[in-house]
């Protein structure tokens, strides 16, 4: 399984804080995005923000290939401090 987490505007627009997806070999972040977009318009809207992507707490690109058990997060540019 893959865990997907969303934060800030991406969480609100996708209406998802955390969810699980089935893992398959050579699954990329782009595959995750395609799978989520097929689940509803809210995901298409969320990804239209071009969110940053983290895998296991490291910033990655959508070409990143996942492993079983990975945690993927989508969030907007940061605004702390």
């Amino acid at each position: 399984m893959i865990t997907v987490k969303c934060f800030a505007q991406v969480r609100e627009i996708s209406q998802t804080e955390e969810m699980s997806l089935s893992f398959h070999q050579n699954m990329s972040i782009a595959d995750v995005q395609r799978q989520l977009c097929a689940q509803g318009e809210q995901w298409q809207k969320a990804f239209s923000l071009s969110p940053l992507i983290a895998c296991n707490h490291i910033i990655v690109s959508e070409n990143h290939v996942l492993n079983e058990g990975d945690e993927v997060a989508f969030f907007p540019p940061v605004t702390g401090g």
Partner: protein, 150 residues
């Protein structure tokens, strides 16, 4: 070295004392406090909320503290960031840097704040009565962080 988030108010006097307690070589301490303003470009606000990514936020803060120690030869670094609901005028972030000489302590604190605002997963939402708005990332913050890459 300490880098953490907390939901409770930041006690600047306590954090400064803790930083000083660990020092053996330093001749300079620079501290920075970021505060919640009671206004933005649209008018008055009634506090903010700060969302974070549990796990990644703490790791990124600690890595930033380690980078600052190495880059500026700091003796100690302390970074404390609030999360959750924060009232106007409260401290959002407290940074303390100690070094043998003042230039390194000043540079370390400036570096930490510039990179923190660009890299650490934290998101600010401003409250106005019943409504609230996410704060957008600023290009000036990106420019401030990029000057350290030169």
């Amino acid at each position: 070295m300490v880098a953490r988030v907390q939901e409770t108010p930041i006690n600047s006097d306590y954090e400064t004392a803790e930083l000083r307690r660990l020092l053996k070589l330093s001749g300079a301490i620079v501290t920075f406090c970021g505060l919640v303003r009671d206004f933005n470009h649209l008018g008055k606000i009634e506090g903010i909320s700060l969302e974070h990514y549990p796990g990644m936020t703490e790791k990124t803060l600690l890595r930033l503290a380690q980078q600052a120690v190495k880059r500026f030869e700091l003796e100690q670094v302390r970074i404390i960031h609030r999360v959750g609901r924060i009232d106007n005028a409260e401290t959002i972030v407290w940074v303390g840097c100690a070094a043998v000489h003042r230039q390194a302590a000043f540079a370390g604190a400036a570096y930490i704040m510039d990179i923190l605002k660009q890299d650490v997963p934290l998101w600010k939402k401003e409250h106005y009565g019943e409504s609230s708005v996410w704060v957008e990332a600023k290009s000036t913050d990106k420019d401030a962080a990029s000057r350290w890459q030169k």
